[in-house]
Amino acid sequence: MKTFKLGGIHPAENKMAASQPIEEFPLPKQGIIPVSQHLGAPAKLLVKRGDQVKTGQLIGETAGFISANIHSPYTGKVKKIDNVLDASGYKRQAVIIDVADEEEWEEDIDHSEDIIREITANPDEIVNKMKANGIVGLGGATFPSHVKLMVPEGKKIEYLIINGVECEPYLTNDHRLMLEKTEEMLIGIKILMKGLGVDKAIIGIENNKMDAVEHIRSMLKDFKGISVEPLKVKYPQGGEKQLIKALVNREVPGGKLPLDVGCVVNNVATAYSVYEAVQKNKPLIDRIITVTGKNLQKTANLKVRFGTQLSELVDHVGGLPEDTGKIVSGGPMTGKALPSLDVPATKGTAGILVMTQKEAKFADPRNCIRCAKCTEVCPQGLEPYLLHQFGELERPEDAEANGIMDCIECGSCNYICPSNRPLLEYVRVGKAKTSEMIRNRKQK
C-alpha cells in the first residue's frame, strides 16, 4: 500500500466520532461573521448596521487576488459591526447578525437536497462561480480555491489530487462527508477536473477509512477518470507535498507549488462545496465540524452555519467537562489552542477538540540528548534540533541555509522528542525571522 517515504509518525488515532452521522445544527439566535475567514486579504464589507440580510447574501467582497467573498449564513438584521475575538486569537472585524425566525434565501440559490448531475458550466464559469460563492480550501489552510484553478501560462496540470486523508487524530468530518455526501463530492471533483482541464483525479484516503474507500469505489462507474487510492496510515500524509509524493511519486521542491510538478490538490470537503457553488449556486455558508474529546459526554459531526458560537456546539454534546485543560480548534497536531469558546465557527473550523487537564499538561523540556529522532521523523528531511537552535539564537542566515522555510509545521519533531523540547515553537520563531530577512533582502 502506498505512502510517503521520508519521516512521519503514528499518533494515536482517537477517531471516536467516526460513527456519528452528520447532524444539521440548529440556527443560533445571533451570528458573528468575521470578514476574514480565509488566507489572504480580509473581505471588504458591503453591509452596515441596521441592514436586513437574506441567507446567502454577499456581505463581504474580495479585496485582492488572494481573498474571498463572505456571505451571510442567516436571514436577519445587522445588529452591529464590531471587532471580535476569532479562533486565531486576534480581534477582527465581524458582522453581528440577529437571526430572524423565518429564513429567507437569496432567490438564485438552490438549497434543496436534489442532486444536479449534469455539468453545464464551462471552465471560466466554474472559476467565476467558485469565486463568487466564496469557496476556500476546507482542509485547513483556507486558501481561496478559485486561485488554484487559474494555472499560469506554461504550466501543465496532469493530476487533480483529492485529499481525503484526514491524518489529524480525532477529526472525522471529512470521513463522514465521504460516506454521506459521496455523489455530490464526486460531481464536485468532476467540476474541478473540467475547470482544470485534466482527465485524471485521484482521491487519497488512509486505510483506517476503508469503508469510505469501498463506498466511493462502488460509485465510480459513473465518474470516468476518478480513482481512489487507499494509503497506509502515517502522519502528515494530509500535507499536500506528502500526499502528492504518496500518490504520484513526485516531490514538490522547497519554495515551489504542487502545480510545478503538474498537480493541484483539493480537499474532499472543498470538492463538495464546489459542487454546491457551481451546480446549486449556493455560497459557502456552512461546513461539517467534528466536536470531540475523551471526556465529553458524546461526540458529534455537526453541519454548522458560520458565525455560530463554538460554545453552543460544545453545549450540544453535553457541555464542557469540569477538568477541561485545553480547547483546540482543529486537530491536535496542527490546530490552534483557543482562549475561550466564545468564538465563532468559520470556514477554517474543522473540529473542536476538548482536552483534559492531564492531556493538556506536558512535562518540562529537558536537554537535547541528540537522539536524532526529530531528523528521523521530519517529512521534509530537515534537522529540527538544529533549526530550533538557529531560531533560539536568532541566526536567520543559518536557518535559511538549513532549509527552515521548507518546514511545513506538521509538528512531528515536537511529537517525538523524548526531552519534550518546544522544537516547532522555535522553528516558527526562526521562520518569522528568516522571512523578514528574505523580505528585506528583496527590497534592496
Binding site: P253, K326, A337, E359, A360, R366, I369, T375
Partner: protein, 334 residues
C-alpha cells in the same frame, strides 16, 4: 470551570517516547552480558557493577545538587548506563577506589563539566575508562580468568587448564605480543564469553542479543553498528589475506576484545555520535578502521575505546558536512 485554559502552539499531543525509555532500554539490553559476566567471574563482577553504578549516580547527584545547584536528574537512567558501561570496561579484579576514581572522571569530567546529559562531546564511560587505563595500567590490564570449571568446551587453545592460574592474558593481548600464530581460534568459547577480558566484553553473543533488542525497539538504528562491524571486518580481512601468519583472521577480531560492546553500546551513544544517517555510516566506518589500526599497528592490544573517542571528536565536523537528503531536492519541475 475552575481552571484556566492552557494556550500553547501546536502540536497539542506528545508521543510517549522519553529519555527514561531510551536509557532503561539500553540497561535492559545490557542485562544478558551482565549475567554472563556474573556467571563467568562470580561475585567480583557483582561488586564492580554495584560500585560503578552507585558511584556514577552519586557523583552526578553531588555535582547537580551542590555544585550546579540545579535539578537532580540521576533517575533519568543516563548515569546508570554510564555506570554499567564503565563496569563492563574494567577487569573484575580492579580495586574499588580505582573504580570510584574512574566514575568521578567519567561523570564529573566526561559529562557534567560540559553541562550534563546531551552536552558531552565524548562518551563519558570511555573517558573514565581511558583515564583508568592511563593512570592504572597494571590493574587495568591484569585479567582474571573466568572460573575455570565453567568453560563450556575444553578445546586446546587460549585457556590453560591449571587451577592455580587466576589471571591470564586476553586473546588480543597474546595477538599483540606474539602474533597471529600464537592465537588458536576458539570461536565457540569466545562467542559465549569464556575468555579473559574486561567484565562486560567477554560474551559477543550476549552483546549481539542486546544490540538486536536495541535496534528492534528503535532505540538505536542499524547504521553505526553495521558500518562499524563491516569496516573492521573488511579491513582486518584485507590484512589477513595479505599475510595470514602475521595478522589474525577477521572473525577473531570480531569475537575478541571489546568490539561488540563498543559497536552496540558505546559508538551508538546518542550524544557523541552523528545525527544524520550518512554521518552515522561515516562514523561507523571510521571507528572500524581505527579500531583495527590500533589493534594491529600500535602497542595497545585493544583499540575500541580510542577509536570511538577519536571519532567522537570528529562528530561535529561530520554533522556539519552530512546533511540529510531534503524532500524535493532533486525533483525536476515543469
Amino acid at each position: 470551570m475552575k481552571n484556566q485554559l492552557i494556550i500553547s502552539s501546536s502540536p497539542h499531543v506528545r508521543g510517549n517516547w522519553t529519555i527514561e525509555k531510551a536509557m532503561y532500554g539500553v540497561v535492559m539490553a545490557m542485562i544478558p552480558a551482565m549475567l554472563v559476566s556474573f556467571y563467568m567471574f562470580g561475585l567480583g563482577a557483582l561488586r564492580v557493577m554495584l560500585i560503578s553504578i552507585v558511584a556514577c549516580m552519586a557523583v552526578e547527584y553531588v555535582i547537580q545538587k551542590y555544585v550546579i545547584k540545579g535539578p537532580v536528574t540521576i533517575t533519568d537512567g543516563s548515569a546508570i548506563v554510564t555506570g554499567i558501561l564503565l563496569a563492563f570496561n574494567v577487569p573484575t579484579s580492579i580495586p574499588s577506589w580505582m573504580l570510584i576514581a574512574g566514575a568521578i572522571v567519567a561523570i564529573g569530567m566526561g559529562k557534567m563539566s560540559f553541562g550534563g546529559l546531551g552536552k558531552n562531546p565524548f562518551n563519558p564511560a570511555l573517558v573514565g575508562r581511558v583515564f583508568m587505563l592511563i593512570s592504572f595500567p597494571a590493574a587495568m590490564t591484569t585479567w582474571p580468568k573466568p572460573i575455570v570449571s565453567r568453560e563450556f568446551f575444553s578445546f586446546a587453545g587460549l585457556d590453560a587448564k591449571t587451577l592455580d592460574t587466576v589471571t591470564g592474558p586476553t586473546p588480543l593481548g597474546i595477538l599483540n605480543e606474539q602474533g597471529a600464530n600464537a592465537v588458536t581460534p576458539d570461536y565457540v568459547n569466545q562467542l559465549l564469553g569464556s575468555m579473559s577480558g574486561s567484565m562486560g566484553e567477554i560474551s559477543a553473543l550476549a552483546l549481539i542479543l542486546g544490540g538486536i533488542y536495541l535496534i528492534a525497539r528503535k532505540i538505536i538504528t542499524w547504521h553505526v553498528p553495521v558500518s562499524y562491524l563491516l569496516s573492521s571486518f573488511v579491513f582486518a580481512g584485507i590484512l589477513w589475506l595479505v599475510d595470514p601468519s602475521q595478522y589474525a583472521d577477521p572473525l577473531f577480531h570480531m569475537v575478541t576484545g571489546g568490539l561488540m560492546l563498543g559497536v552496540f553500546y558505546m559508538a551508538t551513544d546518542y550524544v557523541s555520535s552523528p545525527m544524520s544517517k550518512k554521518g552515522m555510516l561515516i562514523f561507523g566506518v571510521g571507528a572500524g578502521v581505527l579500531t583495527i589500526l590500533i589493534r594491529v599497528f600500535t602497542p595497545y592490544p585493544e583499540g575500541v575505546s580510542f577509536a570511538i573517542l577519536l571519532m567522537n571528536g570528529f562528530t561535529p565536523l561530520i554533522n556539519t558536512y552530512t546533511k540529510p537528503k531534503r524532500f524535493g531536492e532533486k525533483q525536476p519541475v515543469n
